[in-house]
């Protein structure tokens, strides 16, 4: 997304190389950030098409367009691609671009590893996607791939899936280590930890979560690999193994993973709201502590995904109480954002619209999360569309809106051009309306008894499913507006000032727009 302006600036650095090799060999954090962002956008559209295939099939009861076996492949691939291919790389891309600019570093601390972290991803997802065209078909056991459906009963493509997950894990771990090392070592003089922008703070905490849990994911898929090919029986009851062990290990990764996908979005929103409220963030320190508390709690709540597997009563109670506790630091964050807006001087440019929608809709997702934490009620909610509604509310208008807000916010800094505000607002309203029409009715059909991951449903669920499908198509096609806007902004537009936004604060706004290829070769001094 960076323009190719070779900046022979005062530091005497060279601009980017020419041609394709610039992107293959680059060690520049801005180039790598742009590649991550474009890659995640491509994955968003790929996973989005799969979601639309799913929604199109669910438009009416009965099987119309696809067969149940392909339906399961679509839901599985949609989940895997959105989680590992769209949301996570988009955050890494934003971190690559913005963390060095926000802490006054010249680049990431480990630039060659940075290049490798990115270039693993296209191969990992290429391998995952290619299974769609094999005779056995793609993975069909859901993105949570519960054993033994994913081991003894899996299609042969599961081995490619395992290898793909390993590669994604390596990429994520390296990316996370890079971010931690950069933040700890390359901060400009005067930039103490408690002066770091919240986006940097939330990513710092997220990176530790990644380093802690991606190896657990690698472990669980390796155990699957052993079960499938080398005769072990970790998850096979007939061989003395335990299918529930899989779920414990998976969710010990899986729950922190949920926060990996939301904490950086908290950071982005905490940058944007003060800018457009023209007022400092309320409770900076408590935001840092709340984020840390959420990260800590994420390690001790995993079994709330397993309330119906038959855990002992005491275990069930512990995980219910621990899960309820998460509401407290999360509430602190929401209250702080609202207090930041209170008595500010607000304007509503596109990044602010997405940030406000984030606060409202993420909070709705948080409310349904609180309802899900009540274990007795979870026996009715579990594995229904109520859960689907919940996690899509925190992931789509949550994580994804956070990312989109960040892109709009920093786009003028990256490209040197303001985007078209009317087009941005059009994109926002279409997305906002589409996302709610899609996911709000899912609360109702879930409560009324529709299980998730089914290709066909009983007649009483027909009307809300039809509405959700209409919403999904509105939301899906709205993202083409975004693509058009991005290309248009890169190619030209009103010249952006260095500060870009009237209320913007921070080191990234002190450099020229577009950001030169090399920045902060001389560290700035932070007062």
């Amino acid at each position: 997304m960076t323009t190719a302006t070779a900046s022979h600036d005062d530091h005497g650095h060279h601009g980017p190389a020419k041609g394709i090799m610039r992107w293959v060999l680059t060690t520049n954090h801005k180039d790598i950030g742009s590649m991550y962002l474009w890659f995640s956008f491509a994955m968003l559209l790929t996973g989005g098409v799969m979601a639309l295939i799913v929604r199109a099939e669910l438009f009416q009861p009965g099987m119309q367009l696809i067969r149940p076996e392909f339906y399961n492949q679509m839901t599985t691939m949609h989940g895997l691609i959105m989680v590992f291919g769209a949301i996570m790389p988009a955050f890494v891309g934003l971190a690559n671009w913005m963390v060095p600019l926000m802490i006054g570093a010249p680049d990431m601390a480990l630039p060659r590893m940075n290049n490798w972290s990115f270039w693993i991803l296209p191969f990992a997802f290429g391998m995952l996607l290619f299974t769609l065209f094999t005779e056995a078909g793609a993975p069909n056991f859901g993105w949570t791939f519960y054993a033994p459906l994913s081991t003894t009963y899996a299609p042969s493509s599961v081995t490619y899936f395992i290898f793909g997950v390993h590669m994604m894990g390596i990429s994520s771990i390296m990316g996370a280590i890079n971010i931690i090392v950069t933040i700890l070592n390359l901060r400009a003089p005067g930039m103490t930890l408690m002066k770091m922008p919240l986006f940097v703070w939330t990513w710092f905490i997220t990176a530790y979560l990644l380093v802690a849990v991606m190896p657990v994911l690698a472990g669980v898929v390796t155990m699957m690999l052993m079960d499938i090919h080398y005769g072990t029986a970790f998850f096979d009851a007939a061989g003395g193994g335990d299918p529930v062990l899989f779920q414990h290990v998976f969710w010990f990764f899986g729950h922190p993973e949920v926060y990996i996908m939301i904490l950086p979005a908290f950071g982005i929103v905490s940058q944007i709201i003060p800018t457009f409220a023209r007022k400092p963030l309320f409770g900076y320190a408590s935001m840092v502590y709340a984020t840390s508390s959420i990260a800590f709690l994420s390690f001790i709540v995993w079994a709330h995904h397993m309330f119906t597997v038959g855990l002992p009563l005491q275990t069930e109670l512990f995980f219910m109480y621990a899960t309820m506790l998460i509401a407290i630091p999360t509430g602190v964050k929401v209250f702080n954002w609202v207090s930041t807006m209170f008595r500010g001087s607000m304007t509503f440019e596109t990044p602010m619209l997405f940030a406000i929608a984030f606060v409202v809709l993420f909070t709705i997702g948080g409310f349904s999360g609180l309802m899900l934490s009540i274990a007795p009620a979870d026996f009715q909610y579990h594995d229904t569309y109520f859960v689907v509604a919940h996690f899509h509310y925190v992931l789509v208008p949550g994580a994804l809106f956070g990312i989109i807000a960040g892109v709009y916010y920093w786009l003028p800094k990256w490209t040197g051009h303001y985007y078209n505000e009317n087009l941005g607002k059009f994109h926002f309203w279409m997305s906002f309306i589409g996302v709610n029409i899609t996911f709000f009715p899912m609360h109702f059909i879930g409560l009324a008894g529709m299980p998730r991951r089914i290709p066909d449903y009983a007649l009483q669920f027909a009307d809300f499913n039809a509405i959700a499908t209409v919403g999904a198509f509105i939301f899906g096609f709205s993202q083409l507006i975004f693509l058009f806007l991005l290309i248009k902004t890169i190619r030209g537009g009103e010249k952006a000032t260095d500060r870009v936004w009237e209320g913007a604060e921070g080191l990234e706004w002190t450099i020229p727009s577009p950001a030169p290829y090399h920045t902060f070769a001389e560290p700035p001094h932070v007062k």
């Binding site: 963030l281 038959g310 304007t347 009620a377 059909i445 007649l459 009307d463």
Partner: protein, 375 residues
């Protein structure tokens, strides 16, 4: 098809316009259910729901007030405050109190749900790809329960019935006024047995026996419908549950009927069956127990489920054919049908498979051959 699509679209549009009137029969909320436990759960659900609504009203109220009042276009000047220890403590303390108030009733309901002692009736439920098996422990009664919705309905070749995808051949019959304990397990992958009206949802896991219970009060006799809730493979959406609650007397009579039926069935296997009789019976059994995977025309499905039309086993290897139906193929969805089909049914379906869709072997498999093969 197009007509129905438009009909659906227009009903959606109308539904949005006349939402309050139309929503009454749309099913918006969790069922209250018929047991004490399900009603307690419903109350917990509504309590936490209203707590969320009120927190939402306050938080979003303040937020939208700021959005309307404190906007630059109205000349609002930003204040500079950015800290308040008092406020921070307040909005940490209030949620804590609310959560504790919520945890108390939740804990007591959970303890009640976990008390499976002193049951009157014990039913073992086994999940299979893709049907449920019920065994009444100590009663010598047991059977499988298959979906009865036809593939013609699923693939839109005929009108869908009222209980589309929620109907089975054998209901799980339970008495009212008795504590029923469910012992839930699985034969292959993980399933979950879920009946919303009695608020029982438990995963069926191979190697585990999970317990749950229900006490349906007298006067609540009737049919209650549920579904498998855990992704268990291709036909996960097609293995419903129908529970029939009857009075204690009717339950006893039903048990006796079941036992008598089993004796009659065993006697029937020793009789003589013509090729035509077996073909008619076999076609019925095939449609119910086999077509879900192997296809209505024996064409198979994808690479997982092999075609039977033209298959070497169905054309040549009769002993192998009988063996795979009786014993299944471990590690695949092809399960043993010994427990779920009678000897006559197995003989009939194998005869059918060896003579349908161009598999013209002309061979007849008799029930006696099945009895011999089982020895």
């Amino acid at each position: 098809m197009y007509f129905r699509t438009w009909q659906r679209l227009s009903s959606v549009v109308l539904g949005l316009v006349f939402a309050p009137a139309a929503m009454a029969d749309w099913g918006l909320n969790m069922p209250v259910g018929i047991t004490e436990v399900s009603q307690s759960i419903f109350e917990l659900h509504m309590l936490i729901f209203w707590i969320c609504v009120w927190i939402g009203v306050v938080v979003f109220g303040v937020m939208f007030y700021s959005i309307f009042k404190h906007r630059k276009s109205k000349g609002a000047v930003a204040s500079k405050f950015h800290e308040s220890l008092g406020l921070e403590l307040l909005w940490t303390a209030i949620p804590t109190v609310i959560l504790i108030a919520m945890a108390v009733p939740a804990t007591s309901v959970l303890i009640q749900m976990y008390d499976t002692t002193n049951s009157d009736v014990d039913i073992k439920i086994t999940g299979h790809q893709w049907k449920w098996q019920y065994d009444y422990l100590g009663e010598d009664v047991g059977f499988f329960s298959n979906l009865t919705t036809t593939t013609d309905e699923i693939y839109n070749r005929t009108e869908k019935g009222e209980n589309y995808l929620e109907e089975v051949d054998n209901h799980v019959v339970v008495p009212t006024g008795k504590k029923i304990r469910f012992l839930i397990t699985s034969n292959d992958v993980i399933h979950a047995w879920w009946l919303p009206e009695i608020a029982v949802k438990k995963d069926a896991i191979p190697g585990y026996i999970n317990e749950s219970w229900a006490l349906i009060p007298e006067g609540e006799e009737g049919l209650y419908r549920g579904k498998c809730a855990e992704l268990c493979g291709v036909q996960h959406g097609f293995m419903p549950i129908v529970l029939e609650a009857v009075t204690a007397d009717e339950y006893q009579a039903w048990l006796d009927d079941q036992r008598a039926g089993k004796v009659a069935e065993a006697a029937a296997a020793l009789g003589d069956f013509s090729y035509d009789e077996l073909m008619v019976e076999g076609a019925e059994v095939y449609a119910r127990s086999c077509a879900g995977c192997h296809g209505t025309e024996g064409q198979g499905m994808g690479t997982i489920f092999p075609a039977l039309a033209g298959s070497p086993i169905a054309l040549n290897d009769m002993a192998g054919h009988i063996d795979i139906v009786i014993n299944g193929k471990p590690g695949t969805a092809m399960q043993s049908f010994t427990a779920q089909l009678s000897d006559v049914q197995i003989a009939a379906v194998i005869t059918f498979e060896r003579n349908a869709w161009g598999n013209d072997t002309g061979e007849t498999v008799t029930p006696q051959m099945i009895i011999d093969a089982k020895k």
